[in-house]
Every structure is written in structure tokens, then in C-alpha cells.
Symmetry: C2
Subunit: 341 residues, 2 copies
């Protein structure tokens, strides 16, 4: 008997496959999106609904299950707010409102819930995002581990960024990748993360100025959460119909993250980030955009490679190693770490 495995939820190849098989393949074209909008017809961070005046309403939903719910650098409340804000931003939207659905386990200390909700609301308050609706449910003791928060992010976009890189586009990564994934893994393995912490944060201070200045030059934008940078680049190689060539040494990865991942036999490029953007930018403005991103405080931002036309390597991501050779960067498979977000 076929059963659900952890890998079905890890955000890699198996997640794409099960979502395609159970949902997408069963819907006719007309029921995958609204006319003129973006929906399940295209793999992206959020959906878009045309507003009739040329603008789009951007909507996204995610369930957050992270375990443990409190971790260095944040908690499930900050994650749930930031994650949906970032998904709206990555489609080119300005986040304006949110809804939440909270399910908690009977017996959870009120103090725990109180802290989580305060964290969640603190992000909305500092971002000026309204909480316009929600749901609250309780499951009996033993039927849910602590808490699951689902958030709906809503934004408005003048233009949406449909993730299709164009030949020549430079790939920019705005910060160190894999921090969130590494910290959650350490905690789940019972290790002390020391001073090391999650990168979870809303990316409004990065994306709103960037969109205002460069939205016409950004052909793809994604935050590398579950599945990591590797999943984003592999998706883009496919949607763009070409190859992505990346310089391994240009990718910003903290040495602690790299060595921890290697110790466990995991590619750090498969680890989730929760406060990083990956962008495909027109080459003529890429250097200038990079400097602008750095001037916004994202000083670790780097150009890590580019998207190219290719018949031979169409749909692949090639990693140029420090020795000068190339290796194929495979999209993640299997279960790296459950409940990472």
C-alpha cells in the first residue's frame, strides 16, 4: 500500500510530483487560474487575480508547522508572518493584509500561544499590514504536536513577476543561504546552535525599493525556502527552458552551515532560507541592481551565475566548481528535515 512519506512534504521533487498528480493534473486549464491571472498553471510563490484596472491582487497561503516552534532568531509566529509576506513580495506585490488560521493542541500552555501570537502581530505591526480575518481551532491532546499556523498573504502589484528567466539574466542571491534550515536541523538533532541563528525576516525593506526601481528588469524572484536555492534554480532552468550556470564559490554560504551540512552528507544548497531572495535580472542592470541591493543593507548579496540558452543542458543547473569543472546541481529529493517551516 502506498503511503505518505516525509519526502512528499520536503519541498523537493516528490512534493512537486504529488501536487502535480493529486491537484494540478486533475484540473482543466480553466480551473487552474482566473482569466488573465496566475494560478496553478505556473509554479510560483503566489497567485495573481486581475483587478480590472491593470493591477493585480496577489494572494498566497502557507501552513507553518516548524518544530521546535521557538528557535534562535525567531519563532513560528515570526515565520508565519514573514513567509507569507515574502511570497507576496516575490510575485511583485506590496503586502497589505493578512488572514490567519491557527490550530493548537489542547493543553498547550497559554503562555506559549501568547508569545507566538505576539511575535506574529509584531511583524504585522512593524510592516503596517492589516490582519483582516482568521480562524481558531483546538485539537484534542495527542492529535497535534503543539501548533500549526496557516497564513494568507494579500498584496497589490502593478506588475507581477512570473518566474521566467531570460537568456543572459544574472542570478543574484541577496544573502547567505541555508541558515534557517541549518538551525532547525541542529535543534532537531539535539545540538546547540550556539550563536548561530535563523535568517527569518520579512523582505519588504529589500523588495519594495527594488521593485520600484527595477521591476521591469527582474524576470524571476523567489525566496529559497523548502528545497533551498537548488530547488529555485532547478525550477527556473525548466520554466526558462535553458540552463543555469552558477559559480560554486560565489554562492554565499556561511562556513558553519557548509561544514554542518557536509558532516551530515547534505548539500547546503538544499537547505531552507527564510529571509533571502533569489533574482534573475537583466544583465545590463545587474551590477547596478546588486549595488543598490547592497546599499539597502544586504551587504552579502552576490551575483552567482547566469541563465543561458542551451539545448544540451536545457532544464539543468550546472555548478562550476572551484577546480574549474562542472557538476549538475540536482534538485533535492528525499526527506532532509521534517517540519522545517
Amino acid at each position: 500500500m502506498s503511503v505518505i512519506r516525509l519526502s512528499h512534504g520536503s519541498g523537493g521533487v516528490e512534493t512537486s510530483e504529488i501536487v502535480e498528480r493529486l491537484f494540478i493534473s486533475r484540473l482543466g486549464e480553466a480551473l487552474k487560474k482566473l482569466p488573465g491571472g496566475l494560478g496553478l498553471d505556473f509554479p510560483d510563490d503566489a497567485a495573481a487575480i486581475p483587478m480590472g484596472d491593470g493591477r493585480y491582487l496577489v494572494v498566497t497561503v502557507d501552513s507553518y508547522t516548524v518544530n521546535p516552534p521557538f528557535f534562535p532568531g525567531g519563532d513560528i509566529g515570526i515565520l508565519a508572518a514573514s513567509g507569507s509576506i515574502n511570497d507576496v513580495l516575490m510575485l511583485g506585490g506590496k503586502p497589505i493584509a493578512m488572514l490567519d488560521a491557527v490550530v493548537v493542541e489542547e493543553g498547550l500552555p497559554m503562555e506559549t500561544l501568547d508569545k507566538v501570537v505576539n511575535s506574529f502581530l509584531s511583524v504585522l505591526k512593524s510592516e503596517g499590514i492589516a490582519l483582516i480575518g482568521g480562524d481558531f481551532k483546538v485539537m484534542p491532546r495527542g492529535q497535534l504536536d503543539k501548533i500549526v499556523i496557516t497564513t494568507v498573504g494579500i498584496g497589490v502589484a502593478d506588475r507581477i513577476i512570473v518566474d521566467k528567466p531570460k537568456p543572459g539574466d544574472k542570478i543574484i542571491v541577496t544573502d547567505y543561504v541555508g541558515d534557517h534550515g541549518a538551525v532547525i536541523m541542529m535543534l532537531q538533532y539535539g545540538e546547540n546552535p550556539g550563536a548561530f541563528k535563523s535568517d527569518v525576516k520579512p523582505l519588504t525593506k529589500l523588495m519594495l525599493p527594488l521593485l520600484e526601481k527595477y521591476s521591469h528588469y527582474i524576470h524571476a524572484a523567489r525566496d529559497p525556502t523548502r528545497g533551498g536555492l537548488s530547488m529555485v534554480l532547478n525550477d527556473w532552468a525548466k520554466t526558462g527552458g535553458g540552463v543555469i550556470v552558477v559559480e560554486e564559490e560565489a554562492i554565499p554560504v556561511r562556513s558553519e552551515v557548509a561544514s554542518y551540512a557536509h558532516m551530515l552528507g547534505i548539500d547546503p544548497l538544499h537547505l531552507a532560507s527564510e529571509g533571502v531572495a533569489v533574482l534573475a535580472v537583466e544583465p545590463s542592470v545587474a551590477e547596478e541592481a546588486l549595488k543598490f541591493i547592497q546599499s539597502l543593507g544586504f551587504t552579502n548579496a552576490r551575483i552567482i551565475g547566469e541563465f543561458r540558452e542551451s539545448q544540451r543542458y536545457r532544464g539543468y543547473v550546472l555548478l562550476k566548481t572551484q577546480s574549474g569543472g562542472f557538476r549538475i546541481l540536482e534538485p533535492p529529493r528525499g526527506d532532509l528535515v521534517p517540519r522545517i517551516c
Copy 2:
């Protein structure tokens, strides 16, 4: 130490209190809704966002946890689709799109998930509602009982129905109340529900024609889910600032439901329905609207009472009993039955 209790999630007084205390009271007025819209400033089924052309976008989110996931008359997939469709309708919206976030337990038979997703999609297909986005996560074995589905319902409304009954309004109930709650309770108590089944269904065939014809005369509309008819009427007595007087014998309750509830010492008016609407309608058209509702196939619809101005009983629901006396219909408290929806 204060902890989360099942009653916090039962949709009654304790749910209102915890949501008010943790969320609503902590948000300034500006962050409870979008300008000109409807949000956490007012207790209703869904939120409304002005579209700039006089219309509103209606958005709602709910997490469905029903246990067992399959029950006579439906399953968690049908419930998750219908519930969010109905919440859009009750605010006066025409449902056009949905997003979903599914969290399942590792080890769940694929066949189970397959059936649930097929049920969910079958509702969207028969209603012509697009599925434009989603999320899929897996929690390790033992950390979640089977499945939780969160759905986001999206619709468009020319006018929204903000639940404020006006003096003289007749209260219409469109069908037998409490069927869903009674069936789930029977199953949780290990009893055989026999031929008896849940009323779960989308209410588009009722509400769309009704809104087209009578939307200006409907001053409140709600589906009596968690908390039952009692919670709806108590909410309306408060938002309207008057009293609701109901004829007990006019309320459509199946005799099986009434006797099962009484056996357990529960008021059947506290039991959830998932395919029923409660409406407050201007008295001049109430009889005509009732006939129209019955002509749509809802032959059990009844006028059960009215909303009146009252200083003395402001905020109360009075039930006129068969003996001619009155009793106060209290809003539900405590935990009737967990995971009812």
C-alpha cells in the same frame, strides 16, 4: 498554569474571548481592516477588500480538522471546499477562486488522501471555482492525526452583507439545523448514525439567486457552523443592539437530532450545520423571500422569529417555548464536541 482547553476551539463564547484577547484587542483600529473594507473590526464570516470600482473582494480562511475525515454525507474534502464557499456567500460574495494548504501525517494511506482531494476538487469543478494556489506539508507520524486542510475562499461582491439586523427583520432558517454536528458526535461516540447524514454542501444554488433578487433586503446572513444557530442569533442580537425573539417550534430540527441531543443533555441549537443559511430579512419582503427560497429546493426553510428593538433584553435571544413562556437562549459554552469541522 493556564492552558488551551477544547472549549477555546468550539466556536462558542470561549472562542470569541480568546480571539478577542489574543488578536483583536492587540491591534489598533487601522490594522483590523483595510480602508473602506471589513475585517476583524466586526464579527462576520469573511473579510472584504474594496476593489476601487465599488465592488469588494471577499476573502475567508478556515482550517478543517473534522474527525473522522469520512462521514455519512461527505468528507473533509467536501467540507473544506463547501465551508469556505459558504463563508464567501454569507458576506454577499460570488465565489470565484480558492487556495488550499494541506498538512498530512506521515504514513497516511495515499488512497485516503486521494479520495479527500478528489472530493475537494469535485466541489470546485461542479461550482466552476478555480484552484489558484496551495501548499502541501507532511508532519512525522504521531505529530498530527491524519489531516488538516485549510482553505481560502475568494469571491467578488457588489454589496457586502455586514451582519447587522434591523428592527422588524424576520429571521429565516433555510433548512434543518444541527445535522452535521449530530452525525459527527454520533461517530465520535462510536454510534451508528444509520441513514442519518451530514448536511454539508455549498450553498451557491441558494445564495446566488437570492442575492441577485433580495440582496438589498438581507441585513444579515450566516451559516450556523461551530456554535450552531444559537451562536449566530446571539451574535446578531449584540451587533444589532436589540433582542431576537424566536418561536421554538418554528425552528426546523429533525426529531432524531433533537432526541439525540437531549439524550446527551445538549441543546440541538448549539449543534453545527454545514449547509444551512440563517438570514435577517426586511419584513416587507420576508414572506416572498421565503417562498423564493423554498422554490429553489429548500423546502424546509422557515421564518423562525424576528429582531426587535429592546433596552431590557438588548443583546439577548429569547426563545418562545411551546407552553407560551420565554427562556433565554444562551450562547454555547464549553466543549460540545471537538473537531466537528
